[in-house]
């Protein structure tokens, strides 16, 4: 709501300047933002906390700043004379829905356009001015915080009842909209029909017009939750509903009624009838909060003077009692936010001002604070990915139905209340969103790049929701499949994960060229040449794209960053290069295993080339590799190495149908 310096000043005995007012509100954290600044007034808005409905009125703000000043609160006049005896009977169907309901008839009033002085106030508060009765009800809400409603009495049949709407009931509200209401919505009704949606908005069928002669003023306390549900149900939130949802006390309700009757009598004249009420006769039950100075000091870290606490709480209209050790206080009726000692501590610190509290570094116990084990691993993987030349991307993880339909075996998690259809599902793979990013960057003329993302995917399994951390890689027009495969092998190597296997299997993003990755015989991911069909789907037909996705859940526990020092070899190694013709479908692992099975002093075998040329007969490829021989006990003699090479050549030719193309090289 809007507030004005002048209007607030009407409730203060004493003088404060507009600058002081704004500064106090800033200290209290209400973040005033000035809307209009004129010669003699400032109009501003405040950010009031959700638990402080009492600040949504001029009186409330006046009360709140008083402790900074010597001024006192000027409570508006509340007394008037009843000059009629007519009442409208009131019924409450369920006192859980409506804690208290009161109404009062005012007869023979003159409904006119609002006069200048009220009009000015109403406009400062940001309302549109209208008929005087309506403006008064708005002004009283701004003044006291109590939402009121005014009915045209002559449009009401018999009595007034607060009840749940009936299934299929309808009401046209004063904004001209037809509202379908049901038993979730609380209404005010007369003997025949609903005439208002309780706490939210009145009905057109009982609205005050320029022809109105007799009115019924309503001031009530509705159940905050019921108002909130009703407001959500019909999709209508008003200034009244916002206040009811935060909770209003019966005392405020009574003040609101009195102010409305009094102002109507003054401005519209007419005869005021007696109060007709129903519901809780109980007064607001003041919670009692007990605390001592030790608790205040323990929580604040400063020594607060007892007198300061005493004065402050008194100025804030708390009832304060003090015995030897404890303060026993109870808050004023409008402070439904005060429930326990910490709430009092906040009041004390607010008015002591947060700025005056020193900033101290705690002396804390040294205790090994546990970190989740995956953090270090994930960060290490992130580092390695960047070392390997990949650039990190981060996606929302909310995506379209299309993007979760690649793998039919996975049941995606679906948002019940999405903001749009393309953000309706939780991703089941990191790849689709990355493909969209690839397209975006290619459209913006970045052509060759490598991307990775570490993030969660989500799915449904056996009726419950699961999340799983993954890493994905994409290589776009940068090298070939083996460039990417090499980087991923390097990643596993750096993570000291040894028992790794690759198997050709159809995958989700490539049916043909897909390599499944197994760690300790458990499938953990894939490396693939993105299929043409998917490329086409993402408008990436012309790009060369290789990808990989790896589930990190199974890896995190197995990764090791512990490295034991190994003495560098004392004796030199000898290298021999070999080239063989093999059948096209030869498995590299077979060649490697065959050589290793010979029990020669082989240190490592390095693949370096394969090719298939026109000159070579069909179904045959040429494979070249180097074998490094090294002995731990001495330098290998040339004759030995020749012998080893011969053995390799013989075995490969004999056992693997390889055919020697050439062998040379010496290191």
């Amino acid at each position: 709501m809007r507030y004005s310096y002048r209007l607030i000043s009407e409730y203060i005995n004493g003088l404060i300047s507009p600058e002081e007012l704004i500064r106090y509100l800033e200290i209290l954290g209400l973040n005033p933002s000035v809307v209009v600044k004129s010669k003699d007034d400032i109009v501003f808005e405040l950010e009031t906390p959700a638990n402080r409905g009492d600040l949504l009125c001029l009186l409330g703000v006046a009360r709140e700043i008083l402790p900074f000043t010597n001024a006192s609160l000027k409570i508006p006049r509340l007394t008037f004379e009843e000059t009629s005896t007519r009442i409208t009977p009131v019924k409450i169907e369920d006192e859980n829905d409506c804690i208290y309901y009161s109404c009062r008839i005012v007869e023979k009033i003159s409904v006119e356009k609002t006069g200048l002085s009220l009009k000015e106030k109403i406009e400062k508060l940001g309302y549109r001015t209208c008929l005087n009765v309506v403006d008064i009800s708005n002004y009283v809400m701004a003044e006291t915080g109590q939402p009121l409603h005014i009915f045209d009495l002559d449009k009401i049949d018999g009595y007034v009842e607060v009840r749940r709407a009936r299934k299929g009931e309808c009401l046209v509200t004063i904004d001209g909209k037809k509202r379908e209401i049901d038993e979730n919505v609380l209404v005010i009704a007369d003997s025949k029909k609903a005439i208002a949606i309780a706490g939210i908005m009145g009905g057109q069928n009982s609205e005050v017009t320029a022809d109105t002669k007799n009115i019924l003023i309503e001031s009530a306390v509705f159940n905050p939750v019921v108002v909130r549900r009703g407001s959500k149900k019909i999709g209508l939130a008003t200034e009244a509903s916002a206040r009811f949802e935060k909770g209003i006390s019966i005392d405020t309700c009574k003040i609101g009624m009195a102010r409305a009757a009094l102002l109507i009598k003054e401005i519209c004249r007419g005869d005021i009838g007696p109060l007709s009420e129903s519901g809780s006769k109980k007064k607001f039950s003041h919670p009692v909060v007990k605390f001592n100075m030790e608790r205040v000091n323990k929580l604040s870290g400063i020594e607060v003077e007892e007198k300061f606490v005493m004065d402050l709480l008194t100025r804030l209209s708390f009832k304060v009692k003090k015995n030897k050790k404890f303060f026993i206080v109870s808050p004023p009726f409008y402070r439904n936010d005060i429930k326990e000692d910490v709430d009092i501590v906040e009041e004390i610190l607010k008015y002591r001002q947060y700025e005056t509290i020193p900033a101290n570094i705690p002396f804390a116990s040294i205790k090994n604070t546990p970190s989740s084990p995956e953090i270090a691993t994930l960060e290490k993987i992130r580092d390695i990915c960047v070392w390997l030349g990949f650039t990190e991307v981060v996606h929302m993880g909310l995506t379209s139905m299309d993007n979760v339909s690649f793998n039919r075996e996975i049941i995606p998690a679906e948002i019940e209340n999405p903001i749009s259809s393309n953000l309706k599902f939780l991703r089941t793979s990191l790849i689709p969103e990355i493909l969209e990013t690839i397209r975006f960057n290619i459209y913006h003329s970045t052509r060759n790049f490598n991307l990775f993302e570490i993030g969660k995917v989500y799915y449904k399994e056996k009726g419950s929701f699961r999340e799983e951390t993954r890493v994905s890689f994409m290589s776009i027009n940068s090298g070939n499949f083996f460039t990417l495969k090499g980087k991923i092998e390097n990643l596993f190597d750096k993570l000291h994960l040894k028992n790794l296997q690759f198997k050709e299997e159809p995958g989700v993003f490539a049916t043909e060229n897909n390599l499944a990755i197994y760690l300790d015989d458990v499938p953990i991911g894939n490396i693939f040449i993105l299929s043409d069909e998917i490329k086409e789907r993402f408008d990436l037909k012309r790009e060369e794209i290789y990808g990989s996705e790896i589930n990190l859940e199974n890896i995190i526990g197995k990764v090791s960053f512990i490295t034991f020092f190994k003495e560098p070899p004392k004796y030199p190694s000898s290298r021999r290069d070999f080239s063989f013709f093999f059948p096209e479908d030869i498995e590299w692992k077979e060649i490697e295993n065959t050589i290793l099975s010979l029990n020669l002093p082989v240190e490592k075998i390095e693949f370096f080339d394969f090719y298939k040329r026109d000159a070579i007969p069909n179904n045959i490829i040429s494979i070249s590799f180097s074998v490094f021989f090294r002995s731990a006990t001495g330098t290998l003699e040339n004759e030995d190495v020749v012998k080893f090479s011969k053995k390799i050549i013989e075995t490969i030719c004999l056992k693997m149908k390889g055919q020697l193309r050439g062998a040379d090289g010496e290191t």
Partner: protein
């Protein structure tokens, strides 16, 4: 033609060849090649000598042929030897003005950079880093944090539900991690949690339905509001520099009491007032407070024994302030022209 005459010619060619070879410097490979053509080439001196052979009688031809062959072999050998030692030295002066070759490097996403910077500051103060699920329940996201159901104070956390009936949702903040930590361990401890959060906000320059948060929690005997100020002031000055002014003002969160909002002097206008700080000179950067006793009761902590503080902040917001990024959408657009700026 006489044999002697040919022998004389062979000797002449041999001497001339040797003399000329001697004149070729070590850095003149092109001269050496010319020499090779002149003597050993197809129309070279050696072949010229061979061409004379038909003029001789057959006995003489054999002898002369052998001599020419010897000469050819020795010249070839000399040539081969010299070839390896006669190398053109590179000119030592290189034009160094051309730009260097751009290496292929990877980059971290700005969200990672900021998260790491924040975690480094807190781990220096002994905080551990913990994680929690992104798919949460109503209990952890709201109830346990003292956020009342069906109250306007819940409105800031407009929630995506996966199943409203089963009370399964996407966490709207990292605060549920607080509860999960406290259910597992006893004080004293200090932790931060980093991660993705989801709110039903429409996308615009300052709102995103997905964003990242850092949550902090420190619980011990004797932790008080001045410690909250101390730790967070240290964090902000480490992150944004010693000249930054830090302001604590009252605020409201259901899970802390007293609560505070922390602002720092605007690093764009240096506190003079600009659109970023709405002309106030200050930018809000985080929310915090002393852990509400109800939260402690929910996890079975003794509220007389332990006190603690908690704080939470948006990572994108911090990155926006730190890097001067103008629109939150840049974080999820993954434009490499943007990400690569922050390597």
């Amino acid at each position: 033609m006489e044999l002697e005459e040919i022998k004389k010619k062979i000797k002449e060619v041999s001497e001339k060849a040797e003399k000329q070879l001697g004149e070729i410097g070590e850095e003149e490979p092109e001269k050496l090649e010319r020499w090779k053509v002149e003597y050993l080439g197809r129309k070279g001196e050696i072949n010229n000598l061979f061409a004379l052979l038909p003029h001789l009688a057959s006995e003489e031809r054999k002898e002369a042929g052998m001599l020419i062959n010897n000469l050819k072999n020795s010249l070839t050998n000399v040539y081969e030897e010299r070839k390896y030692t006669t190398v053109k030295k590179e000119k030592s002066k290189v034009n160094l003005s051309f730009p260097g070759k751009t290496p292929v490097t990877g980059s971290f996403h700005p969200i990672t950079l900021i998260s790491r910077e924040i975690s480094t500051i807190f781990t220096k103060m002994g905080f551990g880093i913990v994680t929690g699920p992104e798919i949460e329940t109503d209990y952890y996201n709201f109830d346990a944090l003292n956020i009342p159901a069906e109250h306007p104070s819940k409105d800031v956390w407009d929630t995506f539900y996966l199943s409203e009936k089963e009370k399964v949702l996407l966490r709207t903040h990292t605060s549920p991690v607080q509860i999960r930590v406290m259910e597992k361990i006893r004080p004293p401890f200090r932790v931060i949690a980093i991660g993705k959060c989801f709110r039903r906000d429409d996308i615009d320059a300052t709102h995103s339905p997905v964003f990242h948060q850092i949550e902090g929690l420190m619980v011990d005997k004797g932790i008080n509001f001045s410690h909250l100020k101390g730790v967070l002031t240290y964090f902000i000055t480490e992150m944004f520099g010693k000249d930054v002014k830090v302001k604590f003002t009252p605020s409201f969160f259901p899970f802390t009491e007293p609560s505070a909002e922390v602002s720092m002097s605007c690093n764009i206008c240096k506190g003079k007032g600009c659109p970023t700080c709405h002309n106030t000179g200050y930018i809000e950067i985080l929310g915090c407070g002393m852990v509400h006793p109800q939260v402690f009761r929910n996890v079975g902590y003794d509220t007389d024994e332990f006190t603690g503080f908690a704080f939470g902040m948006g990572i994108e917001r911090l990155a926006i302030i730190k890097f001067g990024i103008t629109d939150i959408r840049y974080f999820f657009q993954n434009d490499l022209r943007v990400i690569k700026q922050f390597s």
